[in-house]
């Protein structure tokens, strides 16, 4: 975990003072609503339907137990006792008052946290794989590069007023768990033939109104060139991105209008001017960043012996066996595992977590996982470094805490935006739709039989719920003031990313669960042995689903 030095602390404390002054001047009337808008957004503060929403940055998803306890106390003291894990690994508070925000920021600063650039038309929090540093399939740990990008992007003087928001994601494994193909910039860490680490650079991916898979503009960028190349991309975007129409202002529109080849040439040309500037990274700095993400003191564990002991528990307890299958993921160190805590039990808004749960999580992190946890873009939480010998004890604690719903990767592990219950942009509510689906599909054996199935719900076309890349995507739409839901099929967020296709006319809220059931039925009847939903869909196409869902009831 990165640890602030006096420079980081100074920048953060100056930020707290700056925002406190801005809030004072706003409340005194010196700053107008229009002028305050970008200032508060760049500090993660939205004015929502019922109250402001404050989005706290969780750089690349890493949190310490100390930070978790601080979030718990803020939830209790300034909010209604809970917060929400967003689809970009951040934490959101739904009920703070504007006057309290400077104090909340001051409290966050004491644990090296902030809300810098979590909204607004600037470079947002950099996200990555929730299994960074522990995944058996990664090339190198992506987090040092994420931290380097965090520092570079924080208060970048040139790129704070971009045409539109700008999101960067980094992955270091082929099985892309960070959805880099649907980010403004996606960085895929690769090794070239000489074994040198670098980046495959994608630009212009994104969800929202115009979903696009990013284009590769450079197959191999040496690691020292990371920041100067990012500067070049951002400078081209800042200068040439559209500013006349908010809906056409993302970089994906520019890349598409220029063509990826021309865009790449422009970036290359700009880069030639700055690639050898002092912004060029040094090996020393990369090593410094890496020094914060070293392996914790793992114990020597006899993997075979501990696996045998686990086998005994799984034979005796079906519930433990289910949890082990779905919620426990492999780790690169023998004898260790990553444990995903589901924030998706039926009856809880997907991604919500209470103050008491945060505190328990902090204790569990200290006891079982070297004091750290990770948030995931699927809105769950991961204990990254759990000894396999502790898994059974941990499960016993997780169950009563509401963290052990064994549904990771299944149909009920729904990605869902806050929707019309909270968000002023939403066309429709999304949480009740998620809840109805979770209650309907409550038979675990049936869920497991369905296998890996991503269902994503967004309450409007801004696509915070990533509906375009759900195997089944649900999009809230407004028709003459009434809430309807459009269904999409065939999206995928992993290595072979794809965007969903619209099934047909939209449905009322009470019909959605039934439609999902019909879609699932078509899959079950059409699948080959061991074929996952997305593969069946790709084989048979959308028509059989259409026929079933829209069949006349005669």
């Amino acid at each position: 975990m990165y640890v602030y030095d006096e420079h980081d602390h100074k920048i953060l404390s100056e930020r707290v003072a700056q925002f406190r002054g801005q809030v004072d001047r706003y409340l005194e009337g010196e700053i107008s609503d229009e002028e305050f808008l970008p200032l508060r957004l760049q500090n993660g503060l939205y004015i929502q339907r019922l109250a402001p929403m404050l989005r706290i940055a969780v750089p690349y998803g890493m949190l310490t137990s100390v930070q978790l306890r601080k979030l718990a106390s803020i939830a209790r003291d300034y909010d209604k006792g809970y917060c929400h894990v967003s689809t970009r690994q951040n934490i959101q508070f739904n009920w703070p008052s504007l006057e309290d925000v400077p104090d909340i920021l001051a409290e966050l600063a004491t644990v090296q946290m902030h809300a810098i650039q979590t909204s607004g038309n600037c470079i947002r929090n950099t996200t990555t794989d929730q299994f960074a540093g522990i995944a058996p399939d990664e090339i190198v740990d992506p987090r040092p590069y994420c931290e380097i990008i965090r520092q570079w992007s924080t208060f970048h003087p040139e790129f704070a007023f971009l045409p539109r928001k700008f999101k960067i994601a980094v992955t270091a494994s082929l099985d892309d768990r960070a959805a880099v193909q649907v980010h403004d910039i996606g960085l895929q860490i690769v090794k070239n033939d000489a074994g040198t680490v670098g980046f495959r650079v994608l630009v212009g991916g994104g969800l929202g109104r115009t979903p696009v898979i990013g284009s590769v503009i450079r197959e191999f960028l040496p690691e020292e060139d990371l920041l100067t190349y990012l500067d070049a991309i951002l400078r081209i975007y800042n200068q040439f991105g559209r500013r006349d129409n908010k809906f056409k202002a993302r970089i994906k529109i520019l890349v598409r209008a220029m063509g990826p080849e021309v865009f790449a040439e422009k970036v290359e040309e700009e880069w030639q001017h700055i690639k050898n500037s002092p912004a060029r990274l040094t090996g020393e700095e990369i090593d410094r960043a890496k020094s914060f993400f070293t392996a914790p003191p793992y114990r020597q564990i006899d993997d075979a012996a501990v696996s045998a002991a686990l086998q005994k528990h799984t034979d005796e307890e079906l519930a433990f066996s289910r949890w082990l299958n779905r919620n426990v993921q492999p780790h690169k160190v023998p004898g260790y595992a990553a444990v995903t805590l589901s924030l998706k039990p039926a009856g809880v808004s997907p991604g919500d977590i209470t103050d008491k749960q945060l505190e328990l999580l902090a204790d569990l992190a200290d006891q079982y996982s070297f004091g750290e946890v990770r948030t995931t873009h699927e809105q769950n939480i991961v204990l990254g470094d759990v000894a396999k010998s502790d898994l059974y004890d941990l499960w016993k604690v997780l169950k009563p805490a509401g963290f052990a719903t064994p549904n990771i990767g299944t149909l009920t592990d729904i990605i869902c935006c806050p929707g019309g219950d909270y968000c002023s942009l939403a066309n429709a509510k999304s949480i009740p739709v998620a809840e109805a689906i979770q209650r309907h599909f409550n038979d675990l054996d049936y869920l497991y039989d369905l296998g890996d199935l991503d269902l994503n719900i967004s309450g409007c076309m801004n696509a915070c719920g990533h509906h375009h890349v759900g195997h089944i995507g649900v999009l809230g739409v407004d028709k003459k003031g009434e809430e309807f839901y459009q269904i999409q099929l065939g999206g995928n967020a992993g290595e072979h990313s794809s965007l969903g296709n619209v099934l047909g006319p939209s449905f009322g809220r009470d019909e959605v669960t039934d439609v999902v059931q019909k879609i699932v039925d078509v899959y079950v009847q059409s699948r080959n042995p061991d074929e996952q939903f997305i593969d069946t869909y790709r084989r048979i196409g959308i028509d059989p689903f259409k026929e079933r869902v829209y069949a006349k009831a005669d």
Binding site: H7, I11, E14, Q151, F155, P157
Partner: protein, 168 residues
């Protein structure tokens, strides 16, 4: 006369700003004038005779390379911010300083916020024609919103990581 923030102090502005639609060379006011880029480019020979009493202003979206050959002789370049959300002027400032080597007065004009002063300063601006609703004396504080930065820019070319390495 209008107040101006220049080099960290409030001073009186002795330049006259010529709008885009009001400029012919014959009709220019007497004294120090800041003319639109198009007028400068079309009448460079004539206007050059009045140097150093001529400055040029451009919009953030205009290509700063058009002034590349002129920066050595121009005493002042102003970048106009049509709306404060239009960040192109930040790139324009850096390009004028870092790529084209302009060392004269680089002035921000138009519709920018007091809260952008620190970023503007970092991008090479040293003069600010702030909206008159602000108290310029109070606004000086925003120039120093930050005294430490991660990235290198015009004011401090070395990014923090290079400076950290020097002191450790």
């Amino acid at each position: 006369m209008r107040k101006l923030i220049k080099d960290g102090a409030v001073v009186t502005d002795d330049w006259q700003f010529v709008d885009a639609d009001h400029g012919t060379v014959d009709a220019l006011p007497v004294g120090k004038v800041i003319v639109p880029l198009a007028l400068w480019l079309e009448n460079k020979a004539e206007l050059s005779k009045h140097l150093p009493k001529v400055g040029v202003w451009l919009n953030g979206e205009e290509d700063t390379a058009q002034l590349h050959d002129d920066v050595a002789q121009l005493p002042l370049i102003a970048v106009n911010f049509p709306v404060f959300t239009d960040g192109r002027g930040f790139s324009a400032g850096r390009l004028l300083r870092e790529r084209h080597g302009f060392s004269g007065e680089l002035r921000a004009v138009g519709n920018f916020l007091r809260d952008q002063l620190c970023y503007l300063r970092r991008c090479g601006f040293n003069a600010f024609s702030l909206n008159e609703k602000y108290d310029p004396q109070a606004a000086l504080a925003s120039l120093g919103d930050f005294s430490e930065y991660y990235q290198g820019a015009v004011d401090e070319p070395l990014p923090l990581f290079r400076r950290r390495a020097l002191t450790s």
